[in-house]
Amino acid sequence: MRIIVIGGTGLPEQVAEALHQAGDEVTIIDTEPGRDPAPAKAGLRAVRGDPLVLTTLEAAGALRADVLVACTRTDEDNLVISYLAKKHYKIATVIARVNDPATEELFDQSWGVDALASPASALVSMIRHASVG
């Protein structure tokens, strides 16, 4: 699959590398300027730039991607990127990261989000589950 991952160090990079190692065609839009692009070292295709600019998304292959993962540390960026991915580029699967659970209710189809990844909510439900069991 052709996958675009957007974000910087940590989770976005780890996700991109894991998908790349599994044999997917992965491009990462690195949103952390001024550092050595670690993704390139790992053999990943890396694009630099502002993901809220259409030419950046297109340079990363938005016109032919199957999956886009909006994984920056800023929820409003993830929402706007998801909207563009789904409504403008018609990308089949759009997954977005929720950083602040207070914004989680926004992450739905109206923003083009097919599935959300909310580490805080996931942890909380895991804790509830574990402590009940």
């Binding site: 502002d50 809220l52 259409l54 909207y83 563009l84 403008h88 602040d100 207070a102 109206s110």
Partner: protein, 218 residues
């Protein structure tokens, strides 16, 4: 009118003061509690600490009853997210957002959000003052991308048809004033000494219009 402003910077605080002076009820939001120091003394509106991207904060600002929402933060994606929520979820009839970085103009337009862009508006106005002072605009549209300008027709153009001024996408003759009478001319109307014309012109084409009118290049 009830209005909600997101972002209590210099523009937000000044707009809040304006709404307040007009007798409107204002709620202004800012994640930084200290931002309320920018509000003028005697401000009758409400200051709320919080980020308007968060639905609970917009609800606390009574967004569902607002008739206007203005997003003025320096973060374009926050302005977009809050403006879309105000328009689509809370049905606020008038929604306006500041476009902070001009590179994001295309994204705002994909979402159909009305923007006020201070950078292009300032650049267009300064360029107009520096390069084309003789063509003082009667009216500017949008963020100064197009203007309505008026000029006397130089004598040496007498007898030439109005259509000679029309450049598709750049310059269009909107009106002809002759002997105190105004009309919308035919393309073939011949100009006379003493005529005045109104043009709708793209800001980047002011130089071209000036050269048509025989103005000197500065």
């Amino acid at each position: 009118m009830q209005a909600v402003i997101m972002g209590c910077g210099r523009t937000g605080a000044a707009l809040a003061a304006r709404f307040d002076a007009e007798g409107d009820q204002v709620t202004i939001l800012d994640p930084d509690d200290a931002a309320q120091r920018r509000l003028s003394t005697g401000f009758r509106g409400r200051f709320l600490t919080g980020n308007g991207v968060i639905p609970a904060i917009l609800l606390a600002a009574d967004i569902a009853r607002a008739e206007a929402f203005v997003a003025l933060t320096p973060n374009d994606s926050a302005n977009i997210v809050a403006a879309k929520a105000a328009r689509d979820t809370y049905r606020v009839p008038r929604v306006i957002a500041r476009l902070h970085d001009p590179v994001h103009a295309e994204v705002y337009s994909k979402l159909g959000i009305v923007t006020v862009a201070s950078v292009p508006a300032t650049v267009n106005r300064i360029a107009q003052l520096l390069y084309h002072e003789a063509l003082e605009p009667q009216h500017t549209f949008g963020n100064g991308e197009t203007l309505l300008v008026r000029s006397a027709v130089p004598a040496y153009l007498a007898g030439r048809p109005v259509s000679e001024f029309d450049v598709p996408g750049e310059i269009r003759v909107a009106e002809l004033s002759r002997a105190g009478h105004s009309s919308i001319p035919e393309p073939s109307t011949a100009l006379q000494d003493g005529d005045a014309l109104s043009f709708v012109v793209a800001s980047g084409s002011l130089g071209r219009l000036k050269s048509f009118l025989g103005g000197k290049w500065s």
